[in-house]
């Protein structure tokens, strides 16, 4: 074990001294951060532009009652604030019109021209007796608008005026205070995700008030998809960590083989010790990588969303990462030992790399249909299981416990088999020279007595 640790320490030093490690460690978060900031800036700008009324619905209001416009203006401000995060919403801007000094016809004709000129989207007229009408009577609210004017804005104007009139009527009535209070109560819809099903992983609870801002509200309103905000980045971290720490093992072994160090190494330690040392070394480098990435993710979630990474998700991430690293580390070590130069290596590396990146291609399909046949099959196929399962764990419905257990068991069995097989390939392959081994030869090395 001591020898394996000596190898691991040397491998780890080689890892962290390589420029590629630091580029791999720092560049993706930097690019991701810039993209994220850009997206946030663009979204915030769009919201701000919307809030500034760049696309506001301008309605001129002729309030002949002389008392409703102020209440409508307050209602419009509340509406605009409440719906500012709803995609496609246009805020309402009310413009007060003074009673026409000349004839109504001339004034209305002028308003019509302003609508055609694009200065206004509509105009409305509140009758003079609106405030004094009895409760049973209909108050005629005249709205003049062109074709295509949003109907929900008309409905909102109608409702806002009606609410105000009803409130005033109640206030001035002789009904007891308790009755008036009950009649004046309003209903406000609050949208929430359904509670988790029995056995289902508990959702994390973002706190939009703590987070505030666009992202917090976005997360709060994302409902059942909010777990994806954590699980998908974790899946990407897993993919990047394995890519940046397992694949260099291939290069390291190939280099040792071509520089003939490998012969001295396996004359000094067993192939199992050699492989174990290399895997532990890459695991240590991977730990740094993951600590930085998960730390950044954790910090962002806490800072922006007021949410933490759920413990069960983190634990499964650690299990899948460890098994994935063992699997791909062993595969890349074996391939490095089976090749004699980088050019020959392409024949063996390309299929392995394609297999490793396969779930990334399917990530959106898995997220879209997490319980579909493809997602279930990829979850049980060990090379694709870790990333697929991480994506599925963030989707709704999440995979059942038995499916997770089966996926982990299959992956663990395959990983340990690959480690054992890689040990055998290493023993023969490191001494082989001349040309790279074919898959058939590699199989023969593994199965040889």
């Amino acid at each position: 074990m001591t020898r394996a640790l000596v190898i691991a320490a040397t491998e780890f030093r080689a890892f962290v001294r390589a420029k590629s490690f630091w580029i791999g460690l720092l560049l993706p978060p930097l690019i991701g951060g810039l993209v994220w900031l850009g997206t946030w800036w663009a979204a915030s700008s769009a919201v701000a532009a919307s809030a500034r009324g760049a696309h506001a619905v301008r309605i001129a209001v002729l309030d002949r009652s002389g008392s409703l416009f102020g209440a409508l203006e307050i209602a419009a401000a509340q509406r605009n604030d409440r719906l500012r995060w709803v995609a496609g919403n246009r805020p309402v801007e009310l413009v007060k019109l003074d009673p026409p000094s000349s004839s109504d016809e001339a004034a209305f004709a002028n308003l019509g021209r302003r609508i055609h000129a694009g200065e206004l989207d509509a105009w409305a007229e509140i009758p003079a007796d609106a405030n004094s009408s009895g409760l049973a009577e209909t108050v005629p609210l005249r709205v003049v608008c062109p074709d295509g004017f949003p109907g929900e804005v008309v409905e909102w104007l109608e409702r806002a005026a009606q609410d105000e009139l009803r409130t005033r009527a109640l206030r001035s009535s002789s009904l007891p205070e308790a009755v008036r209070a009950r009649l004046g109560r309003t209903v406000e819809a609050k949208v929430e995700a359904p509670p988790p099903a029995p056995g289902e992983a508990r959702d994390f609870a973002p706190d939009p008030d703590a987070a505030g801002g666009f992202v917090g509200r976005l997360l709060a309103e994302s409902g059942p998809h909010r777990k994806s905000f954590i699980a998908v980045p974790l899946a990407m971290i897993l993919f990047l960590a394995v890519t940046f720490t397992a694949m260099p093992l291939f290069q390291a072994v190939l280099e040792e083989k071509s520089s003939r160090v490998s012969e001295i190494l396996i004359a000094s330690v067993s192939s199992t010790q050699l492989m174990l040392g290399k895997l532990v070394g890459s695991l240590a480098a991977c730990a740094i990588f993951v600590a930085v990435y998960v730390g950044v993710l954790f910090g962002l979630l806490l800072l922006l969303f007021g949410a933490a990474i759920p413990g069960h998700l983190l634990a499964l991430f650690a299990v899948y990462l460890l098994l994935s690293l063992l699997l791909w580390g062993a595969i890349f070590l074996a391939l490095g030992a089976a090749c004699v130069d980088a050019k020959d290596a392409q024949n063996l590396m390309v299929p392995a790399m394609l297999l490793q990146t396969l779930p990334v291609f399917f990530m959106s399909i898995i997220a879209y249909d997490p319980s579909g046949r493809l997602a279930r099959v990829l979850s049980l196929f060990p090379p694709t299981a870790p990333i697929t399962m991480m994506v599925r764990l963030g989707a709704d419905p999440a995979p059942q416990a038995v499916e997770i257990a089966l996926s982990v068991a299959l992956l663990a069995a395959t990983s340990f088999t690959c480690v054992w097989a890689a040990g055998r390939v290493l023993r023969v392959g490191l001494l082989a020279s001349g040309r790279s081994a074919s898959m058939r030869e590699i199989a023969r090395w593994i199965l040889a007595r």
Partner: protein, 295 residues
């Protein structure tokens, strides 16, 4: 022990004993099975049949720490520093950092590498790298040292230095097994020599035993007499030109040949020649020699 690679026999029923505390030379032409034999001793290859015992242990993996190895094709980490290289390979053999520290300094000074101890291996000259390679094998103070072509690529000064180190190690009671094509080096360094040819052991003994076994009636002369005159002398079987000298293979006693030569021509040099290891090698592995051996 025997070893096959597919249809090809690499080592054929080889039986060999290397005496402890000796420098043992393993010679043979390319492809004769030397490297395969060394790799089997190191447990890098498993024989198809037979039994191997290293330092009294049949479980070769257990003897691994007591064996140092320098392969024919040198292998060092190019980006690792010289001192770190020695520490790494020493620790892989089970030596502790505390044990290694003074040893590393001593060996670096002994091999005149102290000045480059902090430099990366890829900045060293070929000769320096060769010496460092030897140190990676001796730094853990193994009981058995297996060296594949230890002097190849070394200038005469460095070769003498390495030769001196090997003599020193032998004097300490360590066993050294050398595989080489360099017959002069084998003659100079080895107490005992074995030769492999087509995977079979064809020669095993001390240098004197081998020379005696392959001794011929051969005289080396420097004379005025032309080849025709020499050929006509009694008892001459063949003549081989060697620059100013000529080697004369004799059928009868050298004394009668010398008497006849002195009678007919001036003689400046006359010596009876014992075959060198090179001669023996060529006689065994040269063109047409294989048939004789297989018989």
């Amino acid at each position: 022990m025997s070893l096959r690679f597919g249809e090809r026999v690499a080592v054929d029923r080889l039986s060999l004993e290397v005496p402890g505390g000796s420098v043992f030379g393993l010679i043979g032409p390319n492809g004769s099975g030397k490297t395969s034999t060394l790799r089997m001793l190191l447990d890098l290859l498993r024989p198809d049949s037979g039994r191997i015992e290293v330092l009294g242990d049949r479980r070769l993996s257990r003897a691994r720490d007591r064996v140092g190895y320098v392969p024919e094709e040198r292998g060092l980490y190019r980006r690792m520093a010289v001192r770190a290289t020695l520490e790494y390979f020493g620790r892989l053999k089970g030596a502790s950092p505390r044990e290694l520290r003074p040893r590393i300094e001593r060996w670096l000074a002994r091999m005149q590498l102290a000045d480059v101890a902090g430099l990366r291996v890829d900045t060293l000259s070929k000769g320096m790298a060769q010496k460092l390679q030897l140190l990676t094998a001796v730094i853990a103070e193994p009981e058995l040292l297996i060296l594949d072509e230890p002097l190849s690529g070394l200038d005469p000064v460095s070769a003498d230095m390495v030769g001196g180190v090997l003599s020193e190690l032998r004097a300490q009671g360590r066993t050294i097994l050398i595989s080489t094509h360099d017959m002069a080096a084998a003659e100079r360094l080895c107490d005992r020599i074995a030769m492999l040819f087509h995977g079979r052991l064809v020669l095993d003994g001390t240098l004197d035993e081998i020379r005696d076994r392959y001794a011929t009636r051969m005289a080396r002369v420097e004379t005025d007499a032309p080849n025709e005159v020499l050929q006509a002398l009694p008892g001459v079987a063949a003549i081989v030109e060697r620059g100013r000298m000529r080697d004369v293979e004799l059928k009868d006693s050298p004394e009668s040949f010398l008497a006849a030569l002195v009678a007919c021509a001036g003689v400046r040099h006359f010596e009876l020649v014992r075959p060198s290891l090179h001669d023996v090698f060529v006689r065994i592995a040269g063109p047409g020699a294989g048939d004789e051996l297989h018989d």
